[in-house]
Point group: C2
Chain length 128, copies 2
DNA sequence: TCCACTATAGTCTCTTTGTCAATAGTCACT
DNA sequence: AGTGACTATTGACAAAGAGACTATAGTGGA
Protein backbone atom coordinates (compact mmCIF):
# COMPACT_ATOMS: atom_id res chain seq x y z
CA UNK A 1 0.00 0.00 0.00
CA UNK A 2 0.96 3.64 -0.22
CA UNK A 3 2.52 5.21 -3.22
CA UNK A 4 6.08 6.23 -2.71
CA UNK A 5 6.96 8.30 0.30
CA UNK A 6 10.15 10.20 0.94
CA UNK A 7 12.51 10.57 -1.92
CA UNK A 8 13.98 8.14 -4.35
CA UNK A 9 16.99 7.45 -2.17
CA UNK A 10 19.52 6.70 -4.88
CA UNK A 11 19.96 3.76 -7.21
CA UNK A 12 22.47 0.93 -7.12
CA UNK A 13 24.60 -0.14 -10.02
CA UNK A 14 27.00 -2.86 -8.91
CA UNK A 15 30.27 -3.48 -10.59
CA UNK A 16 33.62 -2.39 -9.37
CA UNK A 17 34.64 0.45 -11.56
CA UNK A 18 35.71 3.82 -10.28
CA UNK A 19 33.28 5.16 -7.71
CA UNK A 20 31.11 2.07 -7.95
CA UNK A 21 28.50 2.35 -5.25
CA UNK A 22 30.62 3.07 -2.24
CA UNK A 23 30.77 6.82 -2.02
CA UNK A 24 33.70 7.50 0.25
CA UNK A 25 35.02 7.76 3.74
CA UNK A 26 34.31 11.47 3.59
CA UNK A 27 30.79 11.41 4.95
CA UNK A 28 31.65 11.42 8.63
CA UNK A 29 34.12 14.30 8.50
CA UNK A 30 31.77 16.25 6.24
CA UNK A 31 28.99 15.90 8.77
CA UNK A 32 31.21 16.89 11.67
CA UNK A 33 32.46 19.84 9.67
CA UNK A 34 28.91 20.93 8.89
CA UNK A 35 28.08 20.77 12.57
CA UNK A 36 30.94 23.17 13.28
CA UNK A 37 28.58 25.78 11.84
CA UNK A 38 25.92 24.98 14.44
CA UNK A 39 23.55 22.22 15.48
CA UNK A 40 21.33 20.76 12.77
CA UNK A 41 19.13 17.75 12.08
CA UNK A 42 19.88 14.94 9.63
CA UNK A 43 17.39 15.87 6.97
CA UNK A 44 18.74 19.39 6.81
CA UNK A 45 22.33 18.21 6.65
CA UNK A 46 21.75 16.27 3.43
CA UNK A 47 21.29 19.38 1.35
CA UNK A 48 24.22 20.92 3.11
CA UNK A 49 26.47 18.07 1.95
CA UNK A 50 26.33 19.13 -1.67
CA UNK A 51 28.91 21.76 -0.81
CA UNK A 52 31.48 18.98 -0.43
CA UNK A 53 30.49 17.14 -3.57
CA UNK A 54 28.49 14.61 -1.57
CA UNK A 55 25.21 15.34 -3.27
CA UNK A 56 24.12 11.78 -3.96
CA UNK A 57 24.40 10.36 -0.45
CA UNK A 58 21.22 8.45 0.47
CA UNK A 59 19.33 9.82 3.46
CA UNK A 60 19.47 6.45 5.19
CA UNK A 61 23.23 6.55 5.16
CA UNK A 62 23.30 9.99 6.67
CA UNK A 63 21.08 8.91 9.55
CA UNK A 64 23.17 5.84 10.10
CA UNK A 65 26.37 7.84 10.07
CA UNK A 66 24.92 10.26 12.60
CA UNK A 67 23.98 7.52 15.05
CA UNK A 68 27.47 6.14 14.58
CA UNK A 69 28.95 9.52 15.45
CA UNK A 70 26.75 9.68 18.50
CA UNK A 71 27.87 6.21 19.59
CA UNK A 72 31.45 7.48 19.38
CA UNK A 73 30.58 10.42 21.60
CA UNK A 74 31.42 12.91 18.87
CA UNK A 75 27.94 14.40 18.75
CA UNK A 76 24.95 14.51 21.07
CA UNK A 77 21.33 14.72 20.05
CA UNK A 78 18.15 16.28 21.37
CA UNK A 79 14.63 16.37 20.04
CA UNK A 80 13.76 19.94 19.30
CA UNK A 81 10.84 21.64 20.97
CA UNK A 82 9.84 24.16 18.33
CA UNK A 83 9.37 21.82 15.42
CA UNK A 84 8.71 23.66 12.23
CA UNK A 85 7.63 21.79 9.13
CA UNK A 86 6.87 18.24 10.13
CA UNK A 87 7.50 15.63 12.80
CA UNK A 88 10.03 16.25 15.58
CA UNK A 89 13.63 16.62 14.52
CA UNK A 90 16.64 15.05 16.14
CA UNK A 91 19.12 17.86 16.37
CA UNK A 92 22.80 17.00 16.57
CA UNK A 93 25.44 19.04 18.36
CA UNK A 94 29.19 18.64 18.04
CA UNK A 95 31.00 17.75 21.28
CA UNK A 96 34.52 18.66 22.34
CA UNK A 97 35.62 15.13 21.51
CA UNK A 98 33.94 15.53 18.18
CA UNK A 99 36.03 18.59 17.43
CA UNK A 100 39.18 16.67 18.30
CA UNK A 101 38.09 13.76 16.11
CA UNK A 102 37.38 16.15 13.28
CA UNK A 103 40.91 17.47 13.49
CA UNK A 104 42.26 13.92 13.29
CA UNK A 105 40.06 13.32 10.29
CA UNK A 106 41.55 16.34 8.61
CA UNK A 107 45.05 15.00 9.16
CA UNK A 108 43.96 11.72 7.65
CA UNK A 109 42.34 13.44 4.69
CA UNK A 110 45.47 15.45 4.00
CA UNK A 111 47.44 12.20 3.95
CA UNK A 112 44.89 10.62 1.64
CA UNK A 113 45.13 13.56 -0.68
CA UNK A 114 48.89 13.19 -0.73
CA UNK A 115 48.63 9.49 -1.53
CA UNK A 116 46.25 10.22 -4.39
CA UNK A 117 48.64 12.82 -5.74
CA UNK A 118 51.51 10.36 -5.60
CA UNK A 119 49.46 7.83 -7.52
CA UNK A 120 48.43 10.38 -10.13
CA UNK A 121 52.05 11.43 -10.54
CA UNK A 122 53.23 7.84 -10.86
CA UNK A 123 50.65 7.28 -13.56
CA UNK A 124 51.74 10.27 -15.57
CA UNK A 125 55.36 9.22 -15.24
CA UNK A 126 54.71 5.67 -16.37
CA UNK A 127 52.41 6.55 -19.19
CA UNK A 128 55.23 8.45 -20.84
CA UNK B 1 49.86 -28.42 14.70
CA UNK B 2 52.06 -25.91 12.99
CA UNK B 3 53.40 -22.77 14.45
CA UNK B 4 52.55 -19.70 12.42
CA UNK B 5 53.07 -19.75 8.70
CA UNK B 6 53.15 -16.82 6.34
CA UNK B 7 53.38 -13.39 7.80
CA UNK B 8 51.39 -11.57 10.40
CA UNK B 9 49.02 -10.09 7.85
CA UNK B 10 48.04 -6.87 9.58
CA UNK B 11 46.07 -6.26 12.72
CA UNK B 12 42.48 -5.18 13.13
CA UNK B 13 41.43 -2.44 15.48
CA UNK B 14 37.77 -1.81 14.78
CA UNK B 15 36.19 1.47 15.59
CA UNK B 16 35.34 4.10 13.10
CA UNK B 17 37.94 6.76 13.43
CA UNK B 18 39.93 8.18 10.57
CA UNK B 19 41.42 5.44 8.45
CA UNK B 20 40.00 2.76 10.73
CA UNK B 21 40.95 -0.51 9.14
CA UNK B 22 39.54 0.09 5.69
CA UNK B 23 42.44 1.37 3.65
CA UNK B 24 40.87 3.02 0.63
CA UNK B 25 39.52 2.68 -2.85
CA UNK B 26 43.02 3.25 -4.13
CA UNK B 27 44.16 -0.35 -4.20
CA UNK B 28 42.79 -1.29 -7.61
CA UNK B 29 44.19 1.71 -9.48
CA UNK B 30 47.50 1.33 -7.68
CA UNK B 31 47.75 -2.28 -8.81
CA UNK B 32 46.82 -1.42 -12.38
CA UNK B 33 49.34 1.40 -12.34
CA UNK B 34 52.05 -0.91 -11.06
CA UNK B 35 51.29 -3.34 -13.85
CA UNK B 36 51.88 -0.54 -16.36
CA UNK B 37 55.54 -1.11 -15.54
CA UNK B 38 55.33 -4.77 -16.57
CA UNK B 39 53.73 -8.05 -15.51
CA UNK B 40 54.20 -9.12 -11.90
CA UNK B 41 52.76 -11.52 -9.33
CA UNK B 42 50.70 -10.62 -6.29
CA UNK B 43 53.30 -11.20 -3.64
CA UNK B 44 55.76 -8.98 -5.44
CA UNK B 45 53.22 -6.24 -5.92
CA UNK B 46 52.69 -5.83 -2.19
CA UNK B 47 56.10 -4.36 -1.61
CA UNK B 48 55.65 -2.24 -4.68
CA UNK B 49 52.54 -0.65 -3.18
CA UNK B 50 54.49 1.19 -0.53
CA UNK B 51 55.38 3.72 -3.20
CA UNK B 52 51.77 4.90 -3.12
CA UNK B 53 51.48 4.97 0.64
CA UNK B 54 49.67 1.63 0.66
CA UNK B 55 52.20 -0.13 2.82
CA UNK B 56 49.81 -1.78 5.27
CA UNK B 57 47.50 -3.54 2.81
CA UNK B 58 46.98 -7.18 3.84
CA UNK B 59 48.20 -9.75 1.35
CA UNK B 60 44.79 -11.38 1.25
CA UNK B 61 43.23 -8.18 0.03
CA UNK B 62 45.76 -7.81 -2.75
CA UNK B 63 45.06 -11.32 -4.01
CA UNK B 64 41.35 -10.72 -3.86
CA UNK B 65 41.65 -7.42 -5.67
CA UNK B 66 43.67 -9.10 -8.39
CA UNK B 67 41.09 -11.79 -9.03
CA UNK B 68 38.48 -9.05 -9.14
CA UNK B 69 40.49 -7.20 -11.76
CA UNK B 70 40.79 -10.41 -13.74
CA UNK B 71 37.02 -10.96 -13.54
CA UNK B 72 36.59 -7.48 -14.99
CA UNK B 73 38.90 -8.35 -17.87
CA UNK B 74 41.40 -5.68 -16.87
CA UNK B 75 44.23 -8.13 -16.33
CA UNK B 76 45.02 -11.67 -17.41
CA UNK B 77 47.11 -14.19 -15.53
CA UNK B 78 49.51 -17.00 -16.30
CA UNK B 79 51.51 -19.34 -14.13
CA UNK B 80 55.13 -18.61 -14.72
CA UNK B 81 57.49 -21.25 -16.05
CA UNK B 82 60.78 -20.17 -14.48
CA UNK B 83 59.72 -19.97 -10.86
CA UNK B 84 62.45 -18.57 -8.72
CA UNK B 85 62.18 -18.59 -4.96
CA UNK B 86 59.21 -20.73 -4.02
CA UNK B 87 55.97 -22.19 -5.33
CA UNK B 88 54.64 -21.19 -8.77
CA UNK B 89 53.61 -17.59 -9.20
CA UNK B 90 50.52 -16.29 -10.86
CA UNK B 91 51.74 -13.47 -13.03
CA UNK B 92 49.32 -10.70 -13.96
CA UNK B 93 49.40 -8.70 -17.18
CA UNK B 94 47.50 -5.51 -17.92
CA UNK B 95 45.05 -5.70 -20.84
CA UNK B 96 43.98 -2.95 -23.21
CA UNK B 97 40.70 -2.68 -21.36
CA UNK B 98 42.69 -2.47 -18.15
CA UNK B 99 44.57 0.54 -19.47
CA UNK B 100 41.30 2.22 -20.35
CA UNK B 101 39.88 1.42 -16.91
CA UNK B 102 42.99 2.84 -15.32
CA UNK B 103 42.48 6.11 -17.12
CA UNK B 104 38.91 6.28 -15.85
CA UNK B 105 40.21 5.58 -12.37
CA UNK B 106 42.56 8.51 -12.68
CA UNK B 107 39.69 10.81 -13.59
CA UNK B 108 37.81 9.57 -10.55
CA UNK B 109 40.83 10.05 -8.31
CA UNK B 110 41.29 13.61 -9.51
CA UNK B 111 37.66 14.30 -8.61
CA UNK B 112 38.12 12.69 -5.22
CA UNK B 113 41.14 14.83 -4.57
CA UNK B 114 39.12 17.90 -5.44
CA UNK B 115 36.37 16.91 -3.04
CA UNK B 116 38.88 16.36 -0.25
CA UNK B 117 40.39 19.76 -0.91
CA UNK B 118 36.99 21.40 -0.74
CA UNK B 119 36.35 19.76 2.61
CA UNK B 120 39.73 20.77 3.97
CA UNK B 121 39.13 24.34 2.84
CA UNK B 122 35.67 24.42 4.39
CA UNK B 123 37.17 23.23 7.65
CA UNK B 124 39.81 25.93 7.71
CA UNK B 125 37.20 28.55 6.90
CA UNK B 126 34.86 27.42 9.65
CA UNK B 127 37.48 26.97 12.29
CA UNK B 128 38.29 30.66 12.03
C1' DT C 1 -10.11 13.51 3.01
C1' DC C 2 -6.22 12.70 0.22
C1' DC C 3 -1.74 13.66 -1.14
C1' DA C 4 2.83 15.68 -1.04
C1' DC C 5 6.52 16.98 1.76
C1' DT C 6 9.25 16.86 5.97
C1' DA C 7 11.58 13.67 9.13
C1' DT C 8 13.39 9.46 11.29
C1' DA C 9 13.95 4.57 11.82
C1' DG C 10 13.46 -0.91 11.37
C1' DT C 11 14.75 -4.77 8.87
C1' DC C 12 16.18 -8.00 5.31
C1' DT C 13 19.65 -9.22 2.29
C1' DC C 14 23.69 -8.99 -0.53
C1' DT C 15 28.37 -7.76 -0.81
C1' DT C 16 32.72 -6.70 1.03
C1' DT C 17 36.22 -7.29 4.34
C1' DG C 18 38.75 -9.34 8.24
C1' DT C 19 40.65 -13.32 10.14
C1' DC C 20 42.35 -17.89 10.57
C1' DA C 21 44.31 -21.40 8.47
C1' DA C 22 45.61 -24.81 4.76
C1' DT C 23 48.78 -25.89 1.15
C1' DA C 24 53.17 -25.99 -1.03
C1' DG C 25 57.68 -25.07 -3.06
C1' DT C 26 62.62 -23.35 -2.11
C1' DC C 27 66.66 -22.48 0.60
C1' DA C 28 69.95 -22.43 4.42
C1' DC C 29 71.55 -24.60 8.38
C1' DT C 30 72.65 -28.63 11.03
C1' DA D 1 67.42 -36.01 5.91
C1' DG D 2 65.02 -33.02 9.02
C1' DT D 3 63.79 -28.46 10.76
C1' DG D 4 62.48 -23.93 10.33
C1' DA D 5 62.21 -19.49 7.74
C1' DC D 6 60.65 -17.37 3.74
C1' DT D 7 58.15 -17.21 -0.66
C1' DA D 8 53.44 -17.66 -2.66
C1' DT D 9 48.50 -18.55 -3.28
C1' DT D 10 43.95 -19.84 -1.81
C1' DG D 11 39.58 -21.64 0.98
C1' DA D 12 36.21 -20.87 4.29
C1' DC D 13 33.60 -18.65 7.84
C1' DA D 14 32.16 -14.70 10.49
C1' DA D 15 31.48 -9.81 11.10
C1' DA D 16 30.66 -5.42 9.25
C1' DG D 17 28.77 -2.23 5.86
C1' DA D 18 25.61 -0.64 2.37
C1' DG D 19 21.35 -0.86 -0.57
C1' DA D 20 16.43 -1.41 -0.96
C1' DC D 21 12.02 -1.52 0.78
C1' DT D 22 8.96 -0.37 4.19
C1' DA D 23 6.83 1.69 8.44
C1' DT D 24 5.65 5.62 11.05
C1' DA D 25 4.21 10.21 11.74
C1' DG D 26 3.46 15.32 11.82
C1' DT D 27 2.33 19.51 8.74
C1' DG D 28 0.00 21.93 5.21
C1' DG D 29 -2.41 22.62 0.83
C1' DA D 30 -6.11 21.18 -2.69
Amino acid sequence: MHGRHGRGQAQGGRGQGPGSGRADHMLEPALLCSLLGGATHGYGLVEHLAEFGLAAVPLRRVYRALSGLEAMGWVTSDWDSAQTQGPPRRVYTLTGEGKAALEEWMVYLRESRGAISRLLDAYERRRA
